[in-house]
């Protein structure tokens, strides 16, 4: 079979084509069948998968939806006030919540239970089958902490799985989570409903991770075949389980039944197609091969005859036509190139013979092959002579440039340059040569050289070179000049600068040549100087002056500039020559000198002290602003205000108008001594009071340390110092007085304490002593009646003494002041005071209850106590009124009585000490103290404290 096909194939190109085409078609058909079968299989699978996915989504929804319903219902229940009340009212729960929950059912068909638990996990109430509040898990505690609803999986007592939902119940008061409502749903019920509704063979629920024993939750047993599909359900909603997965399975595939029919169809179609292709390809190939054979025959004819003008083909279409056209084009091109060659040869001949340059063709070893007519003319040689002489006949072999030139031509293929040539008559002349190496059509190296005589050009170049040397010498001379030189033409563009100019300005010659010659001028260059320069240049006059110029880096410098116009032989302007000198250093020195003078003058005038400079005769040389101000303020005449030229010794001081004549003589003598160099320093303090204020001055005279002599006189205002000294002396006197008071007050307090202790305790102690003696005798006698009586007496005496001592202590430092504050202490004191002295005493207060600083409370209380003591001792008053204001600053205390009063100017030493004491205490806290009294009209004491700031 294979051999038969092979034989048939070799019979013709058309047969071969047919076999080849059939093979290709067979492979294509197989590939198409494979792809289409796979595609059909894939689509079938997709449809099945989509169905399975839809089913599992529905199943998951059947599972999750009822749970969500229960959770919503539970959350609503947990918000009811009945639940929150039940948590607070343990005994009353059975009354309402138990019956309610016993019969409660959630609105879904699966079995559910519900319960309310308290925070300890004890069941408050629940439906019948409720499994119990499961406090063992963390769910309970976490829920109570964060209040978030949670779901868990739990196992009922019969082993079935329950989904429990826990939600927090808030207490009515406080709003904290105080209980947990629990709902439980039978998972098997939910699953069976889904299975029935979706008509599934298999459905299962797993709890992950799978490595644990309780992975299988519930569901039916699996069938043998079919695809399974799993889907996580309750994603992230079940506490304690990584994931819960739902699994279902599909029925077996239907694809294999369709496969056989499809394959049979593909086979029949393939056989039919192959037969058709075989027949059709063979037929069409035969029509294609005929023109090719024709073309082959004609090509053979052309090759044998060499005749190019044969008609080759009548077929102009398709690949065969293109082949024939290419064949024709080839023949045409060969014919055209023959004509082109002839034309090129003609052009070369014209160039070679008519060229103005001498052309030599030669071999690389120097043998000359051909020379053009110009070469014969230049070298004076005939064509024959050229062939006989070598390179040495035309070139100067002594020229040192020759060998490197030949070397360069050999390396690079071309040499351009100047060389020296030799004529037939033996003279030498310079030439410009272009010599190149090329390869001829026989593959041999040849050279072509073009020569041009350059004798005339060389002569002119030599002349120019000499002139240039001369100019360079001149420039060098200018450069050596020690001042900067700039030359510019009548167009004022710079044509030359020397080295010194470059050093001064920082510009290089390249920077500045061709630039305007005023390039150095800048923003601070004086405009009037610039105008002067411009006018000089316009009128072709010389200029000399100083101007601030700028270096290339922008820094300024002072330039002493001279510009001189230069005229040529015809008297017209040829150029300006500018000469620069940097005088910045000199300028700076001048400026510093001026600044220093101004500074000294400013310092001199800024001094507070009045300063006068005198010459050796005592005449005023200079005065400062302080002198002038002082003189003007004292209305001195203008001559004194200026002071210059006056003789200082004839006047006492600048303040002669004031009241200062007493010391003028002394001042004059001292100043004269200094002027005569008898004294190094003269000092004098003197009063100089104006009509409005007291003033003190200190005068000092010092000799001037210069050859001419003279003196410096200073007057310093020392009024402030004098005043401070005076105040300090006054304060010392005040302190001394206070110290004396303090000693007196202490003495008074001690005396009073001694007197009270003695008055109030000694008699009682003595009486106790007597009683004790009597009791001792009674004890010895056995007189118990007497003993009992004595004991009672002693007891009463001790009580009284104790009370007396408490009174004394209270006076010294009332305890109420420490623990209750100022007001209660005052109240207590008034209470005792009015009882003891039978003086009706009232207290008015704004009673804020705020406490003052302890020191302030103490001192106010002391003043209050001292004032009342004075009333008791001296006033013979019936009523006393105390007003105390401690809420807002200023605090105030007012004590007024209706007693006999007194003349404050003639107070007794005793009460005087008390008043002094009160005044000192008030001032100690920065307060003010005032007393008003008149004989027979009572006394008013008023104390005021502005703020706590006065307190130390």
């Amino acid at each position: 079979m294979f051999a038969a096909i092979q034989q048939w194939r070799q019979k013709s190109l058309a047969n071969a084509f047919a076999i080849q085409a059939s093979g290709i078609v067979l492979v294509c058909v197989l590939a198409i069948s494979l792809v289409s079968l796979s595609l059909i299989y894939w689509m079938e699978r997709q449809a099945e998968n989509a169905e399975l996915n839809r089913t599992i989504d529905l199943a998951a929804e059947r599972l999750e939806h009822p749970v969500n319903i229960v959770e919503t219902a539970l959350s609503n229940l947990s918000l009811s006030s009945m639940f929150s009340t039940a948590l607070l009212d343990s005994a009353g729960r059975s009354a309402y919540i138990r019956p309610f929950l016993l019969s409660y059912a959630f609105p879904i068909s699966a079995t559910t239970r519900v319960a309310l638990c308290d925070i300890n996990g004890d069941l408050v109430a629940g439906s019948k089958e409720f499994a119990g509040c499961d406090i063992a898990t963390n769910v309970f505690q976490d829920l109570i902490t964060d209040g978030k609803t949670r779901r868990t999986l739990a196992r009922a007592s019969d082993g079935s799985w329950l989904l429990s939902i826990y939600t927090g119940v808030k207490a009515a008061y406080g709003g904290t989570i105080e209980g947990v409502a629990v709902a439980q749903i039978e998972l098997a019920d939910l699953l069976n409903q889904a299975k029935a509704e979706l008509n599934l063979d298999f459905i299962q629920l797993y709890k992950l991770p799978l490595d644990q024993g309780d992975k299988f939750l519930t569901g039916s047993s699996p069938p043998d075949s079919g695809d399974s599909r799993s889907l996580p359900v309750f994603r992230g909603q079940i506490t304690g389980a990584t994931s819960v997965e739902l699994t279902i399975k599909s029925p077996p595939h239907r694809y294999s039944e369709k496969l056989l029919t499809l394959l049979l169809g593909y086979c029949l179609a393939t056989i039919f197609l192959l037969m058709q292709i075989l027949i059709w390809v063979k037929r069409s190939s035969q029509t294609l091969v005929v023109p090719l054979l024709k073309l082959r025959d004609q090509a053979q004819t052309i090759a044998l005859s060499g005749e190019l003008s044969l008609a080759i083909s009548d077929n102009k279409m398709g690949e065969i036509g293109e082949l024939a056209q290419s064949f024709e084009t080839m023949l045409r091109t060969i014919a055209q190139s023959k004509l082109l060659q002839q034309e090129l040869e003609e052009r070369f001949r014209l160039i070679f013979e008519k060229s103005g340059e001498a052309i030599l063709f030669a071999w690389p070893d120097g043998r000359i092959e051909l020379a053009n007519p110009e070469a014969m003319k230049l070298f004076g040689l005939t064509q024959e002579e050229f062939r006989q002489i070598n390179r040495g006949g035309v070139m100067d072999l002594g020229d040192p440039r020759l060998l490197p030139a030949l070397d360069e031509r050999q390396r690079t293929g071309i040499y351009r340059g100047e060389l020296r040539c030799r004529r037939k008559n033996g003279t030498y002349f310079p030439v410009e040569v272009v010599s190149s190496v090329f390869v001829d059509s026989y593959g041999q190296q040849r050279t072509s050289s073009f020569f041009r005589d350059i004798s005339e050009r060389k002569a002119i170049e030599n002349q120019l070179k000499n002139r240039l040397t001369e100019i360079r010498l001149r420039e060098k001379a200018l450069s050596a000049v020690s001042q900067g030189v700039l030359i510019c033409g009548p167009d004022r563009l710079t044509s030359f600068v020397n080295e010194e100019f470059v050093r001064i300005t920082g510009y290089t010659a390249q920077d500045i040549l061709g630039q305007p010659c005023n390039i150095l001028q800048g923003i601070d260059s004086a405009p009037e100087t610039i105008i002067q320069i411009r006018q000089a240049l316009e009128k072709h006059l010389p200029f000399h002056g100083e101007i601030l110029n700028y270096r290339k880096d922008g820094s300024p410098f002072w330039n002493e500039l001279s510009i001189t116009p230069v005229f040529d032989e015809s008297g017209s302007l040829s150029q300006f020559v500018g000469v620069q000198r940097d005088i910045t250093a000199r300028k700076n020195t001048e400026k510093a000198l001026r600044a220093s003078q101004v500074l000294i003058s400013t310092v001199f005038n800024s001094l507070d002290e009045i300063v006068v400079v005198l010459d050796a005769n005592g005449s005023i040389v200079a005065v400062n602003d302080a002198w002038r101000d002082f003189a003007q303020n004292n209305l001195a005449p203008e001559s004194i205000c200026q002071g210059l030229g006056l003789n200082y010794l004839t006047t006492c001081s600048p303040a002669a108008e004031g009241d200062c004549t007493d010391e003028s003589g002394e001042a004059r003598d001292g100043l004269a001594a200094v002027l005569e160099r008898r004294k190094e320093l003269f000092e004098l303090e003197y009063p100089c009071h104006s009509p409005t204020e007291e003033r003190w001055f200190k005068m000092r005279a010092l000799p001037l340390r210069s050859a001419e002599g003279g003196a410096l006189v200073l007057h310093e205002n020392i009024t402030l110092r004098k005043r401070l000294e005076s105040e300090s002396r006054e304060a010392m006197r005040h302190i001394t007085r206070l110290s004396r008071h303090l000693v007196a007050v202490q003495e008074e307090a001690r005396r009073r304490l001694a007197a009270e202790l003695h008055d109030m305790t000694s008699p009682n102690l003595a009486a106790i002593g007597i009683n004790l003696e009597v009791a001792t005798i009674a004890l010895q006698e056995g007189n118990l009646v007497e003993l009992a009586a004595r004991n009672e007496d002693i007891d009463a005496l001790i009580q009284e003494t104790t009370e007396n001592i408490r009174d004394i202590c209270s006076d010294l430092r009332p305890p109420a002041l420490d623990y209750a504050g100022l007001l209660p202490a005052c109240e207590a004191y008034i209470d005792r005071f009015s009882k003891r002295f039978r003086i009706k005493t009232s207290l008015e207060s704004d009673d804020s209850g705020t406490r003052l600083p302890s020191e302030m409370e103490s001192i106010i209380f002391r003043i209050f106590q001292e004032a009342l003591t004075n009333v008791a001792k001296h006033a013979r008053a019936n009523t006393v009124n105390v007003q105390l204001q401690t809420t807002n600053y200023p605090l105030s205390l007012l004590i007024s009585d209706d007693g006999c009063g007194f003349d404050p100017k003639q107070s007794s030493p005793d009460s005087g000490l008390g008043i002094l004491n009160m005044r000192d205490m008030s001032e100690f806290l920065g307060g003010s103290f005032s007393i008003q009294s008149e004989t027979g009209k009572g006394t008013r004491i008023f104390v005021q404290f502005p703020s706590t700031k006065g307190a130390p």
């Binding site: 009353g92 009515a172 008061y173 209850g849």
Partner: protein, 398 residues
Amino acid sequence: MRKSLLALSFLLLLTQAAIGQTIKLGIDAEFGIPGSSSAQAIQLGAQVAINEINAAGGVLGRNLEIVLKDNRGVPARALNNLQNLAADSSVVAIMCGKFSPVVIALLPEIHRLQIPYLVPWAAADTITDNDYLPNFVFRLSLRDDWAMQKMLQHASNIGAREVGLLLANSEWGRSNLRAAQGISNVNFYPKIVAHEWFNWGDESLLFQYQKLLADGAQAIILVANEREGGILLNEMAALPPSQRLPVVAHWGITAGQFFIMAVDALKTVHVDVVQTFSFLQDGTSSSKRLLAGTMRMSGNRDPRKIASPVGVAHAYDLVHLLARAIRQAGSTDREKIRHALESLGPYSGATGNLKRPFTPQRHDALNIDMVFMARFGPDGALEPLKTDGHKLIPAPTR
């Protein structure tokens, strides 16, 4: 020589008191309920008493100390707190707050743990009438049956012949209903025409109120805490004047911010409330001492500004009674203290003079004569009403 010996022994005593372990009193009350002041008032009264006792040398040479627990009015929390406190042997007794249901729920556990339980506020009758023997619960406070008698009598005084009861749906409310039903057949009390319940946490009491109004009530006997009391008052104030009945209230509303909630409503609605103690009355020397101590602790110098005065006074007296019982028992043994509490002698306290505070049969220290009616002053202070000079408010005409 004798002096120095005395001083030495005194020093020794002091040192002992200083180094000896403190005797602890647990207070487990509703500290965590926002706006409630009852627990804080109880703590204040107890602390004033303890300060006094410790300043005088403590009890058995040891200082007293309070341990605080918060139950937020929730029985389950109170149960945990009770167990925790009882586990500490230095805790000799526990004091509770105002919630009766809490105490009632704890009764079995109190008697299982056998720890004296002091009640300064919660008023349900069954708290002390609990059938446990020996009984570990001691109350120095109001009883619901006293409160109900006083409220009904007061309703009658202000001219109401028929009243409606508005009750919290809790053991406290039920205790009050039982008390009311027990005496309603007595002639001189007004007739109870209806009673209505509300739950703790309800947002409105208007429905129940209007039912009572429809049933012909001429006054409302209100058994509620401050939250629901405030809600009711504000709802009543929004009604037309003819529909605003006078309210006679149990004292639950005084335990917090009732006055702040209802300050405007109180201008239009008539409210009288049961009390057992007031700082505004001329009191005993104890009550003056308590006032001084309270002022010292709180920095408040105005007796009108002391919140929930009954809680302060009851707790103060109970702590003093406890200290006496410990002293009398000579031990911190709980059973001995319980026994001593039942056999204490006369005590003059802030609430009044008690001849014998408790007996084995009677565990309520106060009596109905100490109960009186009070009214909110313009600053929220509870002002006792004088029964003789009081102007009776006529029932509204309808």
